[in-house]
């Protein structure tokens, strides 16, 4: 287990004990709802693993995903894993720049073809042949078409890479699409979120290194272990929803008592993510705990879903036709009434009184 260059060896050099490493693996396995033995398997696989090459490409993104992952919590065994996998290209974190960095990228891709993990954050601009977003003079689209097919697996980090994200919001000026819209024949795992939870990413990487395949995914390509339940179902404010106790504004008495934020636009009921139980910042809190409703950032098209502060039960758009329809309905009613009266009047006018003589005819 202590072979030079292995992860365990590297960790030992950095003062991480075998015990804390095992605890970390057990935590990851538990988070992913794997059987208890998986923790040990994970530890053995990770400890013996040669550092897998990881290439991180940023496309149309805001670097929020990278910011999130660098804040992976505690003295951060996650961030050590992050250091200890061979992160060969990450524009925000690497020291190299310019031609040297690009040369490294292409060298690593060629040397590790079919073996490296490709992490992408950001959507792919397809408008104007991808000219909206370029790195080193090449469009993201071009780069993805070259590097994507050579990866062992692709991890689409963040809602932009997973679904198109904010760049795809109407009217989508850059023609932004998700990674899975371009690369169709590689295993892709989506880790959506704006940004995603750091530990979710490290857990997926650990799973891949341990088992050589991606974890079980849901219909949107998300790891089921983290995206299997809605925020609403795991929310500690759920009892208030069931009791019908809602905060009306962000600073009223209800809000101070921690009542449900449904009326303030919380999208927890339609959002599948792990925020409510895995939480953020060393399990400190998550948006709802901080007093703001969930905006649904791990769901496709959350950016065009009718407004962050509109309750799910409210109309998503202003009602445009209703007033006109009411007037039209009243007008039709009046017109039909007039027609009915005219018909009655005509019938009355056409009525001929029968006389005894008529009957005897």
């Amino acid at each position: 287990m202590n072979a030079n260059g292995s992860l365990m060896h590297k960790l030992a050099l950095q003062g991480v004990s075998r015990r804390s490493f095992l605890k970390y693996c057990a935590t990851l396995a538990t988070l992913m709802a794997l059987p208890p033995t998986a923790g040990r398997a994970m530890a053995e696989a990770l400890a013996q693993a040669r550092r897998p090459s990881v290439i991180w490409l940023p496309f149309q993104e805001c670097t929020g995903c990278t910011e999130s992952i660098t804040r992976s919590h505690s003295p951060s065994i996650e961030s050590m894993i992050f250091d200890t996998i061979s992160l060969d290209y990450q524009e925000t974190l690497m020291a190299a720049a310019g031609h040297q960095a690009e040369e490294v990228l292409h060298k690593v891709v060629e040397e590790n073809a079919g073996k490296f993990i490709l992490i992408i954050d950001g959507s792919v601009a397809t408008g104007l042949d991808g000219a909206y977003s370029c790195i080193a003079g090449r469009s993201n689209l071009d780069l993805l078409r070259e590097v994507g097919p050579k990866a062992a697996a692709i991890v689409a980090v963040g809602s932009c890479a997973a679904y198109g994200g904010i760049p795809k919001a109407k009217p989508n000026p850059t023609g932004a699409v998700a990674i899975s819209d371009i690369i169709r024949d590689k295993p892709i795992v989506n880790i959506p979120g704006c940004p995603p939870i750091p530990v979710v990413m490290t857990a997926v990487l650990a799973h891949f290194v341990t088992f050589g395949k991606l974890p079980e995914l849901d219909r949107l390509g998300r790891p089921r272990a983290f995206y299997g339940e809605t925020i609403h179902d795991r929310c500690y404010r759920r009892p208030f929803y069931d009791q019908g106790k809602f905060a009306k504004t962000f600073d009223d008495a209800g809000a101070r008592q921690g009542w449900c934020l449904f009326e303030l636009g919380c999208k927890g009921p339609v959002t599948y993510n792990a925020c409510a139980h895995v939480k953020w910042n060393a399990q400190t809190s998550f948006p709802i705990e901080s007093g703001h409703g969930c905006i649904g950032c791990s769901e496709p098209d959350f950016w065009d879903a009718g407004g962050f502060y509109k309750a799910l039960s409210m109309p998503a758009d202003p009602l445009k036709f209703v007033a006109g329809a009411a007037v039209a309905g009243a007008a039709v009613g009046v017109a039909v009434s007039i027609a009915n009266r005219a018909r009655k009047g005509a019938a009355r006018a056409a009525h001929e009184t029968a006389t005894l003589a008529d009957l005897e005819k």
């Binding site: 219909r219 019908g244 009921p269 599948y272 769901e299 098209d301 879903a305 758009d317 009613g333």
Partner: protein, 219 residues
């Protein structure tokens, strides 16, 4: 179109279209019906105790003597699902929130567990009433496509609403969208089918009661 887009559509343009057709139809039919008028009654009205439009509105809400025994499913089942529907539609908090959002009116709701239980009872009562309609030869003979159609229109929103809340069969987002869509279908067809009795029931009772009261007959 993914699930959230579908949900956003039914919450947005779909709701707009459905509410528009609903309002158009309701206003059209109410104005048409109530403007029909009636011929002036020149006879001196008779007076009998218990004979008036208001009496009839109340009297017809109670089963005539012996009828509950003769047709228990129609009366008991009918009562249960009508009251159940009223509770679900008007006392489930998210529904009140929608009404508040549309009209500004709001009132306290029931705990969602209570509404859950009412929903189960309502669904069961509706199924029993339907089975009875199919099983009883006379009822079956009297039933037309419209009866089965309106039953389905009423049943689907209750069923999909329950499944959505309980997270059964389909992801919540999709089921919620289907629930809203089915409620919108109900709104669209309500003014143009016998479901319009929701608006006319008390008016027509009053009319029948009043016209017969003038003849001295408490109906």
């Amino acid at each position: 179109m993914n699930e959230l887009q579908f949900l956003t559509w039914v919450r947005g343009p779909g709701l707009d279209i459905a509410l528009s057709i609903f309002l158009l139809g309701v206003l059209w039919r109410l104005i048409e019906i109530y403007s029909l008028g009636r011929k002036p009654d020149l006879a001196v009205p008779r007076k009998r105790p218990g004979a008036s439009g208001w009496h009839t509105i109340l009297r017809r809400s109670v089963a005539p003597p012996g009828m509950v025994k003769r047709s228990p499913v129609s009366y008991i089942g009918g009562y249960i699902f009508h009251v159940g529907l009223a509770i679900i539609v008007f006392l489930f908090v998210p529904h009140i929130k929608l009404i508040e959002g549309l009209t500004g009116l709001s009132w306290p709701g029931l705990p969602s567990q209570v509404v859950d239980a009412v929903t189960i009872v309502t669904l069961a009562a509706m199924v029993v009433v339907l089975v009875d309609r199919i099983n009883k030869p006379v009822k079956r003979y009297l039933s037309t496509f419209e009866d089965y159609f309106t039953w389905t229109l009423t049943f689907l929103p209750v069923l999909t609403g329950y499944l959505a809340v309980q997270h059964l069969f389909l992801p919540y987002t999709l089921m919620l969208a289907l629930h809203i869509l089915s409620a919108e279908l109900l709104l669209v067809f309500l003014p143009f089918t016998k479901l319009f009795h929701a608006f006319t029931v008390f008016g027509s009772r009053w009319f029948n009661g009043d016209i017969n009261a003038k003849k001295g007959v408490p109906v």
